[in-house]
């Protein structure tokens, strides 16, 4: 038999979401185990050497490592048990009374062991979409890499991926890498974006492209890669508003590197293996305001939906950690069962990409945060309201709304009227943005 370690809360993933979750769970007195497969804590922040982290939370522009350090220091000063270079190979739910979860872990230093806790926090982050997933054809040479991989090579390994790069996708990581590669002496031929508007934050467009004179080609994409051993060129082409390539618009762009920043997907293998269904619009599990996905599983950070700001990631981690600890301790107190509270669904009306959480548990104290994204740019801004059974509970004006930028609303669950089973998020736009 392999060794079994027991905790109240097990957190999988040591990025900002997992760090915050572990800290807040531990703060309530729960025994917390934090499992991270890499050699140190910090998640994706380890490689984000640019600054732009922590503005909301700390009112400061920190670099990724600096932001992570603040949490890691707290974790190191706590009694959270950190298992580094430990990989969760499988997770299973115990059928016995009280349930709980057993994780099969593989670790360099601790060997193979099992870990048990009544509550599980999934903070596994996200992964990048690859060239195959956006169906770029042609050859398969060296020199095609995702932006996150390029970032890792440059910022962690200290190697330069090429001499002349084309960047596909105007997401933040792509923009940041355009600047980083330029600073390292590479030539960035341009950033190509399929859509009619860029998907990165406005500040990154200015600071990473305009300031360096790097062209942004909207409504263009890369359709083919050339070069047998190393990239020699790519074919770029114009697309129409539906994303279809306009015949005859193809042109050859010489380069030795193609960097892809074409989207992130929540990492949810464990959630799926535990039988959680996914929300097709977020690609993450459906949860309540504490990240609760049911039966003692809590999900936070990029594993839940892809966030643009780390500050919100930490916030969602804290909520999940608190509720996970609450669940674990109440099971202990109630002798094996945690009564679920009354839940109402949160539904995003027309104009939204999605809203998270998908449910609000009305028995939970304190305000619930609802994060949302709109599906098109509203330059004139809009009023967003939350209503229940035709009655508006609250409304807030936003000066501008863009799909890449996540926004938040807070609601007091106590204000939800009796007998209603769903809350509607609604958008009132300005005339200029209609049509």
């Amino acid at each position: 038999m392999v060794d079994r370690k027991e905790y109240d809360v097990l957190v999988i993933g040591g990025g900002p979401a997992g760090l915050a979750a572990a800290l807040s769970a531990s703060g309530t007195g729960a025994r917390v185990g934090l499992i991270e497969r890499e050699e140190c804590l910090g998640g994706i922040l380890k490689q984000c050497v640019h600054d732009g982290f922590g503005l909301v939370r700390f009112g400061q522009m920190l670099s990724g490592p600096e932001y992570a350090r603040r949490f890691i220091d707290l974790v190191e000063g706590s009694d959270i048990a950190v298992h580094l270079e430990t990989f969760v190979h499988a997770a299973r739910r115990l059928a016995s009374a009280g349930g709980g979860y057993v994780l099969e872990c593989v670790s360099r230093d601790e060997g193979v062991f099992e870990a048990y806790a009544p509550a599980l926090v999934l903070a596994t982050g996200c992964r990048e979409r690859s060239d195959r997933q956006v169906f770029i054809h042609g050859d398969r040479p060296a020199g095609v890499l995702t932006a996150g991989l390029a970032q890792h090579l440059v910022n962690i390994e200290g190697v330069l991926p090429g001499r002349r790069a084309v960047i596909l996708g105007s997401g933040d990581i792509g923009l940041i890498m355009a600047r980083r590669l330029t600073l390292e002496g590479m030539e960035v031929e341009g950033v190509y974006e399929l859509k009619a508007e860029p998907s990165g934050l406005s500040r990154n467009l200015q600071q990473c492209l305009s300031d360096f004179g790097i062209p942004l080609h909207l409504l263009m994409t890369v359709v083919e890669i050339h070069g047998k051993r190393r990239v020699e060129a790519v074919t770029a082409a114009r697309v129409d508003l539906r994303g279809s390539v306009i015949a005859g618009s193809e042109r050859l762009v010489e380069c030795d590197t193609l960097v892809l920043s074409v989207g992130l997907i929540p990492e949810n293998e464990l959630a799926l293996s535990l039988g959680l269904g996914l929300d097709p619009s977020t690609k993450g599990p459906k949860v309540d305001q504490g990240g609760g996905a049911g039966e003692g599983i809590f999900v936070c950070g990029n594993a839940l939906h892809v966030n643009d700001l780390v500050d919100y990631v930490s916030e969602s981690g804290e909520a999940a950690g608190r509720d996970a600890a609450g669940h674990a301790l109440s099971i202990g107190a109630a002798g094996g069962t945690a009564a679920p509270g009354r839940r109402v669904a949160v539904k995003a009306g027309p104009g939204f990409l999605y809203a998270v959480p998908q449910f609000i548990d009305l028995s939970r104290p304190g305000p619930a945060v609802i994060y949302f994204r709109v599906n098109s740019t509203l330059r004139e801004g809009a009023r967003v309201s939350l209503s229940a059974a035709g009655e508006t509970l609250l409304g807030k004006r936003y000066p501008a709304l863009r799909p890449p930028e996540m926004e938040r609303l807070e609601i007091d669950p106590g204000r939800v009227p009796e007998g209603c089973d769903s809350l509607w998020l609604e958008l009132e736009r300005k005339e200029a943005d209609l049509g």
Partner: protein
């Protein structure tokens, strides 16, 4: 007579652009045609007009580059240049080509006391067709009765199970369900059965629609039952090729990677010396297992009695999460395909637990052109109809391979009629993987026959058939895994999260009997980067291990040998600024 008929047919169809002549039994086509399609048509028409093969030297205007493709080993400029390690050596047998066929031949020869060298121009074995296929060990039903394909396929299918066991690689027989899509195809059952009998296929059955549904609950509605072939198997083609090569090396075969055969020196009707880019050496027998270059290699000996055309095949790989949705290999040919000899592709369950969708079969120039295209993928979409729960969005990647086809569409496995010590294993298109063990036995037998004339050949009493399989941690029980990790902690450090590959497994692969020099070579052995994230996460970690094992800088690590470095140098500081613990 036949030649005259061919000439007039060609003239009628193509005017004066094309000429046909006979050369020692082969039909040689020359001239110029506007398109690749026209060239193909001319080549097919010439089949049967001579007593030997068709040699199609027509240049197509729209693909003129195809006539000047060069046979070469990739080299980093300035590195290893002028190294002539093979100069002046001599061997009993030289095998050209480190695909599944060449490697199987080399291992077969290792059972005898003969000195064998295997030459592969790339930095690893299984670089070309042998790592770019469906991994199916066909049942032998689809091959044309009486063909060499049919003969060697059936024999190979029977050999693979025991061979895979010896090599320590996984082999499974999921069986193949050929669905009848309507009453008309269902009516072909007796014809199917007759053909299976003619090919000596090992077992077949009619499955009622209900039986099909019971075996494969996700099968499409409206099927009319199926022709079931229980002997169809699957294997990992690159693992098989690597294992064959390793086993050959362990038993004394010399494998030289990164070595290209550039010509032969003949003495009378024999090859005296083999010329390579790393020196010239003597060989008593030469085996041509050069895949898509086999006709060029034959020409080095003035024995080009056939030529090859390339049929590209594209496959889609579905996420392993889809793997559980189907147990058997499944296909649903249209009535046209059912009557013809092409297999038309389908859904193949792999040993790794993925599903392969494909392959396509498209005539395109390029002996080593593996570009995929949207139109190729589109032709694969129809296979998704077979299984109601499979979706194109489950694809994690796709790849292409190139089949080396003679114009007669059959294998050539014979001793050269013009060169006394040359043996051809050419035109080994699908089902070449399935047939490889049987082809190897035949080629080894012929080679030994040739050798026997000049030397005494005896069995190699110290031949070790069983190769120790490398550890695969994810397949162990928790307890076994715990033991392995406590013995070697690097088995506990997971480097590839999608396929769950540990550092220890990668280090093991790099210490194997064959040199492993690139990320793709590591991938072929231990699978890091083969999963849904395509190495986005593990690439730097695998690079570190490869650099460490080879004693080179991390910026020198390549994806697939010379000319394919991942990085071009260090950053300005040469240091990572993020933190890594």
């Amino acid at each position: 007579m036949k030649l005259d008929k061919l000439r007039s047919a060609l003239r009628k169809r193509f005017g004066d652009g094309v000429e046909a002549r006979e050369d020692r039994g082969s039909i040689v086509l020359e001239g110029q045609l506007p398109s690749w399609e026209a060239r193909l048509e001319a080549g097919s028409r010439a089949v049967g007009a001579g007593s030997r093969g068709v040699v199609n030297d027509i240049v197509a205007d729209d693909c003129a580059w195809a006539a000047s493709e060069r046979l070469d080993s990739p080299r980093d400029p300035g590195r290893d240049e002028g190294e002539k390690g093979l100069e002046g050596l001599s061997f009993d047998v030289a095998v050209i080509g480190g695909g599944v066929v060449g490697c199987a031949v080399a291992r077969e020869l290792a059972k005898w006391r003969v000195s064998t060298i295997l030459l592969e121009k790339e930095e690893d074995v299984a670089f070309h067709a042998s790592s770019r296929n469906d991994g199916m060990i066909h049942d032998g039903f689809a091959a044309r009765p009486g063909s060499l394909k049919a003969k060697f396929n059936i024999l190979g299918n029977r050999l693979w199970e025991a061979l895979a066991w010896e090599l320590g690689i996984e082999f499974r027989r999921p069986g193949s369900i050929v669905l009848f899509r309507n009453a008309a195809t269902q009516a072909l059952y007796p014809a199917f059965a007759a053909r299976a009998a003619m090919n000596h296929v090992d077992g077949w059955e009619y499955w009622s629609p209900r039986r099909v549904r019971a075996e494969e609950p996700n099968v499409c509605d409206g099927q009319h039952g199926a022709f079931f072939l229980p002997s169809a198997g699957v294997i990992s083609p690159y693992r098989a090729t690597v294992a064959l090569a390793e086993s050959a090396v362990m038993n004394g075969v010399r494998v030289e990677l990164g070595t290209c055969v550039k010509g032969f020196e003949k003495e009378g009707d024999r090859i005296a010396r083999v010329r390579t880019d790393r020196g010239d050496f003597r060989a008593s027998v030469v085996v041509n297992a050069a895949g898509n270059w086999a006709d060029v290699v034959a020409s080095f000996a003035d024995d080009r009695f056939f030529s090859l055309h390339q049929r590209r095949g594209t496959d889609m790989i579905l996420d392993s999460q889809a793997g559980g949705l189907q147990r058997h290999i499944m296909a649903m040919p249209s009535i046209m395909q059912a009557k013809s000899t092409t297999k038309g592709g389908g859904l193949v369950t792999t040993v790794e637990g993925n599903i392969l969708v494909g392959p396509t079969a498209t005539e395109l120039p390029g002996r080593e052109s593996y570009a995929t295209s949207t139109s190729e993928l589109r032709t694969l979409e129809r296979h998704f109809r077979i299984n109601r729960r499979l979706l194109p969005s489950m694809a994690i990647t796709y790849f292409a391979g190139v089949r080396a086809c003679t114009w007669e569409e059959d294998f050539i496995i014979e001793r050269s009629r013009r060169v006394a010590n040359l043996v051809h294993a050419a035109g080994i298109q699908s089902p070449g993987l399935a047939s490889a063990p049987a082809i190897a036995e035949e080629v080894a037998r012929i080679s030994l026959d040739v050798l026997c004339a000049t030397m005494k050949v005896s069995p190699n009493a110290s031949f070790v058939a069983v190769r120790d399989a490398p550890l695969e941690l994810r397949r162990l029980s928790l307890e076994e895994r715990a033991k392995a990790v406590s013995r070697n902690p690097s088995y506990g450090r997971i480097v590839c999260r999608c396929e769950e590959v540990s550092e220890g497994e990668i280090r093991d692969a790099m210490k194997s009997p064959l040199p492993v020099r690139s990320l793709d070579a590591v991938k072929r052995r231990a699978r890091p980067g083969m999963g849904r994230c395509h190495g986005g996460f593990c690439t730097p970690r695998v690079m570190e291990i490869v650099a460490d094992e080879l004693g080179i800088g991390i910026d020198e690590v390549t994806k697939k040998g010379p000319g394919s470095r991942i990085a071009v140098g260090m950053t300005k500081s040469g240091l990572g600024e993020g933190f890594r613990g």
